[in-house]
């Protein structure tokens, strides 16, 4: 996996920083963006990356969703991981486990937040493998 670049977008500066540190320690290159707007900037700049990890709720409740679509459009074929703290009781539960779901959810996997680094790393390895 070493040498692969990961784009991480999250509005929690600490989550972003700690996760980026660990990914770098594991040999990844990491682009970080604090929030949807910064994420869009990275996309517009055209900086290449091999996988995107997007938080769902940032400036807007569906920020990660919108960003995911933009990643799909601008960098087709790039795996997207959507990380969300949204739970069942809000009625906003969705997954990307089936092909049918992946037709409208712009992600290759949806992971619950808070997520442990080893879980996140395992998903990244799977999607890049």
């Amino acid at each position: 996996m070493a040498g692969k670049t990961i784009l991480m977008v999250d509005d929690d500066v600490d989550f972003l920083e700690a996760t980026a540190l660990r990914l770098r320690a594991d040999g990844f290159d990491v682009l970080t963006a604090e929030g949807q707007v910064k994420g869009e900037e990275v996309l517009s700049a055209g900086t290449p990356f091999d996988l995107a990890v997007l938080d769902l709720m940032m400036e807007n409740p569906d920020s990660g969703f919108v960003l995911g679509h933009h990643v799909r459009r601008k960098r087709p074929g790039t795996p997207v991981l959507l990380v969300t703290g949204v739970t069942g009781e809000t009625g906003l539960e969705f997954d990307a486990a089936t092909a049918e779901e992946r037709r409208w959810v712009p992600a290759d996997a949806v992971l619950p937040k808070p997520i442990r680094y080893d879980q996140l790393k395992a998903e990244i390895d799977r999607l890049l493998g």
Binding site: D12, D14, E17, A18, R22, K113
Partner: protein
């Protein structure tokens, strides 16, 4: 217009007819709650008939003859109580004895009507019953609403706790796995950030407790004669400590003592929240000017900073719960999003108001007006 269902239970057809005639076109007005009801009258000639009707669909009001052959009025009330049927019962009786009254009251009778009765007496009893029903429904609605609000608050709080706990856990696991090597100084920054997030959570917990105390009304308020200038002076001493590291100066403008009847803790809470904001959202080497003035039947507190300021759209929503203005300038500033909501609730407690005026990159001024003697 809503209607209330009234079931008249009497073995004398004459009474049933009289009630029906008197109430058919009667409109019960409960102006206190802005409600009006028509009455839908149904009849039952015996306790047995009544029981059947009630079991199918319980009426709102039961006009019940005390003495009937077969199932008597008291028997019927017993059965309804056993079945858990909730109905406002008015007992009609020809024997206005104490014994009757006690027996019926024990079974939950709402009121009595002595035979023979005039239409006006009947209407007055119906009015009382209708009002009782409105009040009961209103209380139930409020209880539901409170439950809903509490649930909303709980889920927001749970959500607010999730982000910092995840951040702290991440930092700790990173240290546990020695991601940055064995040298502990390599972890200075993660440790500092974890502490900042923990402080944020502690503030959130304290703010929640403050809000709960204000909302529940259970906080014992000790309203005494105090000098707001003196309270402000004490609060400023504490706030100066907060500003020290960033070289922020805090000055008080108040010529004379400003007397007011108030709870000292509440005034301190207002000032401390506003002072801590004025320091947090200030620029380095900035200034905070505090004003305490008495005038026009109110004490006016002003806290003006030379900080980052904010846009008008942000000012408008600032006093809401869990509102935090997120932008580049605020990204590293911790806050529960409850401080200003607390300030506004306290201001309202005094019949006053907290307002804000702000210019981006120039500063923000909060003004709290507290009417004297409210």
């Amino acid at each position: 217009m809503d209607s209330l269902r009234v079931l008249v239970v009497d073995d004398e057809p004459g009474i049933r007819m009289a009630v029906e005639r008197a109430l058919r076109a009667f409109v019960v007005k409960v102006p206190d709650f802005g409600k009006e009801f028509g009455l839908a009258i149904e009849q039952a000639a015996s306790g047995e008939d009544a029981l059947e009707t009630i079991r199918k669909a319980p009426p709102d009001i039961l006009l019940l003859d005390y003495k009937m052959p077969g199932i008597s009025g008291l028997d019927l009330m017993d059965r309804l109580n056993t079945d858990g049927v909730d109905v406002v019962t008015i007992v009609i009786t020809a024997y206005a004895s104490l014994e009757t009254a006690v027996a019926a009251t024990k079974r939950g009778a709402f009121d009595f009507l002595a035979k023979p009765f005039a239409p006006d007496e009947l209407k007055s009893v119906m009015f009382k019953a209708a009002k009782h029903i409105v009040v009961q429904r209103e209380a139930k609605r409020l209880a539901e609403e409170r439950k809903h609000v509490r649930f909303e608050l709980l889920s927001v709080v749970a959500h607010e706790m999730k982000a910092p706990t995840a951040a702290i856990e991440n930092y700790l696991r990173m240290m546990q796995d020695r991601v940055l090597g064995e040298d502990v100084t390599a972890y200075d920054h993660p440790i500092a950030r974890a502490i900042i997030r923990l402080e944020g959570m502690r503030k959130l917990v304290n703010d929640l407790l403050d809000i709960t105390r204000i909302e529940s009304g259970r906080k014992t308020r000790t309203v005494v004669d105090l000098d707001v200038r003196e309270v402000a002076t004490a609060c400023i001493v504490n706030a100066r400590e907060l500003g020290l590291a960033r070289n922020i100066t805090i000055d008080l403008t108040a010529g004379a003592p400003v007397p007011m009847k108030a709870d000292r803790g509440e005034i301190e809470l207002i000032l401390n929240n506003l002072l801590s904001n004025a320091v947090k959202y200030n620029r380095d080497a900035g200034r905070v000017d505090v004003g305490v003035q008495a005038g026009d039947g109110a004490v006016v507190l002003t806290i003006a900073d030379t900080g980052i300021g904010m846009a008008p759209a942000d000012c408008a929503r600032l006093f809401g719960e869990f509102v935090r203005i997120k932008n580049d300038k605020t990204r590293l500033i911790e806050g529960s999003g409850l401080g200003l909501s607390i300030v506004q609730r306290l201001a309202h407690l005094y019949g006053g108001e907290a307002t804000v005026a702000s210019t981006p990159d120039v500063g923000t001024t909060f003004t709290v007006t507290l009417p004297i003697g409210a």
